[in-house]
């Protein structure tokens, strides 16, 4: 919870000594509230005041970074329960688990596939985030060997999974500089895991399936021992238990600022599912509902693509909708005789009309104008979609080169622009399409080429 300047002022000495560089304590408090200055500039603030202010300025869910290279997983710092209230900031890391008792060539292949995977969507490159190595063999030597193999195949963030501190310790001796997530401290091995996390400065997962009270206790113990970067595993695995545990942790952290549950959560959908398909839907639920790191047991592009798309959807800032890059887009395989329409670069507008064109059976093209992410009518009323803008886009993107018919279809909602557009584009024929995207198939059947 951020404090206001007046609330902060109450904790200051109110002596106006100016040693902080500000003329009054109130001025200093105001600057603090804007996070424009450090509290340490005030030499006289009481310890009690310091604690209260630090607690208040701490985010309700700590930002934790896994990995150290170009690719890291940054999760946490969330402030709301529902994305419409503000936005979800740091999308969950999607990692794939390999086991140290799997055949080496299988591990190598999975790691290479995960590292190489990239799918493009609305102009963005979507990728996987890391590899979890599971000490399923129970042997520390095999674990270290597998971790080194994985590290040699991909420069991706790692999760080291073992309940055995010796195995984790030996693996960290090799890869600690890559800042892997240690999974996990439990009631049994907590002291040793804490020492390893501190020694190597790596984030530490805390696993306690015996309920949130027990989890909070164990986390508090780990925090008291000096570990700051923590990831929670409440142990809840299947659909219902996972939804409830993750919701309760998020709520307690955000609404009560409850420190020892104020960390990102790691999930294992494969352990709560009875099939690969079910793992995918459970992972989908956890993307929407509050996971920070999701460890998948399978890697199949046909499942990963939908999951990465869902993550992109859910973590889109509702205030800043995804925009299409202005230009000419092809639907199907159009020829120079195919219909050419105009629309805006608000992604939902584009996808609505593109989807209907796709369904209509008419291969076609759309000139996407830069309306700063506004829909047709909103853009028109805000002056971002007018005849001049459309004409400029048609020329800039050389629409005449791909449309031999030199005919362009306006969205029905802005039929009023037709006259002006005829003046702006004198050698083009201007048609007026339907108001709603859903009617475009019928419209083309009736009007195109007639």
């Amino acid at each position: 919870m951020a404090l206001t300047g007046i609330e902060i002022y109450k904790f200051l000495p109110k002596t106006n000594c100016k040693e902080c560089g500000f003329p009054t304590c109130l001025a200093f408090a105001m600057k603090l509230a804007q996070k424009g200055v450090e509290l340490s500039k005030c030499p006289y603030v009481s310890d009690e005041g310091k604690q209260a202010l630090e607690a208040a300025s701490r985010p309700p869910i700590r930002l934790v970074t896994i990995g150290a290279g170009d690719r890291t997983i940054k999760v946490g710092n969330e402030v709301v329960m529902h994305r419409h209230e503000k936005t979800f900031y740091n999308a969950p890391g999607l990692v794939v688990r390999v086991k140290d008792n799997d055949p080496q060539d299988q591990v190598s292949k999975t790691v290479a596939d995960v590292a190489a995977y990239m799918v493009e969507r609305v102009g963005m490159e979507l990728r996987m985030d890391g590899i979890a190595v599971d000490n399923a063999s129970g042997s520390a030597a095999d674990f270290v060997k597998c971790v080194e193999l994985v590290k040699s195949k991909a420069d991706l963030p790692l999760v080291l999974m073992s309940k055995d501190p010796a195995a984790i310790g030996q693996a960290l001796d090799k890869v600690a500089s890559a800042k892997p997530l240690i999974y996990a401290a439990t009631g049994d091995n907590c002291e040793q895991m804490v020492e390893l996390a501190k020694k190597h400065q790596c984030p530490l997962a805390v696993c306690e399936p015996a309920g949130l009270d027990a989890l909070a206790d164990l986390v508090q113990k780990v925090m008291d021992a000096g570990v700051e970067d923590i990831v929670l595993d409440p142990g809840a695995r299947d659909f219902g238990a996972s939804l409830i545990a993750l919701t309760q942790i998020r709520r307690t952290a955000i609404k009560k600022n409850f420190q020892s549950l104020g960390f990102p959560v790691i999930t294992f959908p494969g352990e709560g599912a009875s099939s690969e398909e079910e793992e995918a839907t459970l992972a989908a639920q956890q993307i929407a509902k509050y996971a920070g790191v999701i460890v998948l047991d399978h890697f199949s592009p046909a499942i990963i693509y939908p999951l990465l798309t869902l993550r992109l959807n859910i973590y889109t800032d509702p205030q800043k909708p995804i925009q299409m890059t202005p230009g000419i887009y092809e639907i199907g395989t159009p020829t120079p005789d195919s219909p050419l329409g105009v629309t805006t670069n608000f992604s939902l507008t584009y996808f609505s009309i593109a989807g209907e064109l796709e369904a209509s059976g008419f291969p076609s093209r759309l000139v996407v104008c830069d309306t700063e992410g506004l829909s047709v009518l909103t853009a028109w009323s805000a002056g971002k979609l007018d005849a001049e803008k459309i004409a400029k886009s048609v020329k800039e993107f050389n629409a005449a080169d791909v449309a031999s018919h030199k005919t362009i279809i306006l969205p029905g909602g802005v039929a009023v622009l037709r006259g002006e557009l005829e003046e702006e584009l004198p050698d083009w024929k201007i048609m007026v399409g339907p108001r709603e995207a859903v009617d475009v198939g019928g419209y083309l059947k009736q009007n195109w080429g007639k």
Partner: protein
């Protein structure tokens, strides 16, 4: 040992209960009645679980994905046989879409609609939802005919939209059916239509709302947040946001390029059938978590998976 105090919302509102069927020898399916966000059993009660409706059409569709065509096969030529198969696959409800009444898809009329509805009603004993072709004047014509045939069976008729709600609502009142109100992705439009439907005399146990579904990658985040906001408003006491929510998930998911296009796509899209089915499944499970009470699906694999998922989410 520290005691973690999990905040529990004290909601004042609850979702209206709506029953389909339950008369004329038809099984009853009730949705709604919950006073908490989806599946949060520690906070409130969900007396009725969300259910799966399966879409069948009056004529074999010409534009469905080859994976849907091969999954259903021959039964698609007969809506009764198709509905029966869907019930075998687990449908709690059958949604019959009178697609051939569309001016572009055959322009069939009241008589054909009556025949298709009769076939489905006599083939299955689960509740039935009947959707028009989505063109206001044709919707009115075929839905009035369907309503007459289904009198005494308490079916749901849709869609009621702002332009045609009076006719469909009056028919529902006269024949004891449930109306499905459809509005474009916007919370206030959804509430406004519920007010209009209530004003013409439909009671709250006879309204279901379809606040619009964007498939995964095609506006899903808007649907997710509109449904979540409607649900929060309803639980906060706004009765005009409190009808149960239906989502035509299957129709939207299977309309997209990821489901339809068979070739010429990047390798990173993976196996076509697996991707297409996952597209529908992921859309469905995400929307169930935002508040959907009736999810309408198309592929048999999705039907089985989503039914199992709902059961897992309901078990405490």
């Amino acid at each position: 040992m520290s005691a973690v105090e999990v905040p529990v919302e004290k909601w004042t509102g609850k979702i209206h209960e709506v029953t389909l069927g339950g008369t004329g020898g038809r099984k009853a399916v009730t949705v709604g009645g919950q006073n908490t966000l989806p599946f949060l059993h520690f906070e409130g009660k969900m007396p009725n679980k969300p259910v799966v409706s399966v879409e069948v059409q009056d004529k074999a569709p010409g534009d469905w994905s080859p994976h849907l065509m091969s999954a259903w096969g021959d039964v698609m030529s007969d809506p009764g046989a198709w509905a029966k198969k869907a019930v075998e696959y687990g449908a709690d409800i059958i949604t019959l879409r009178l697609r051939s009444a569309h001016p572009e898809a055959g322009d069939t009329g009241a008589d054909e609609a009556k025949q298709s509805v009769s076939k489905v009603l006599s083939a299955v004993d689960v509740p039935v939802i009947i959707l028009g072709p989505g063109v206001a004047e044709k919707d009115n014509k075929v839905l009035v005919a369907a309503s007459d045939v289904a009198k005494g069976q308490r079916v749901a008729l849709g869609n009621c939209e702002e332009k045609n709600y009076r006719t469909v609502a009056a028919t529902c009142i006269a024949d004891g059916h449930v109306a499905i109100g459809h509005t474009p992705l916007e919370i206030n439009l959804a509430k406004q239509l519920n007010i209009l439907l209530t004003d013409v005399g439909l009671s709250t146990d006879s309204i279901i709302m379809d606040p619009d579904t964007g498939a995964l990658g095609y506006g899903l985040e808007y649907s997710y947040s509109v449904m979540e906001r409607l649900r929060l408003a309803a639980l906060g006491g706004d009765a005009m946001a409190a009808p149960p929510i239906i989502s035509p998930t299957g129709a939207e998911a299977w309309r997209q390029k990821e489901s339809k296009v068979t070739g010429g796509v990047p390798d990173s899209w993976g196996d076509h059938e697996e991707r297409a089915v996952t597209w529908e499944e992921v859309t469905a499970v995400t929307l169930l978590n935002s508040g959907v009470d009736i999810v309408t699906l198309r592929h048999p694999k999705t039907i089985a998976l989503i039914k199992a998922t709902i059961d897992k989410l309901m078990s405490t």
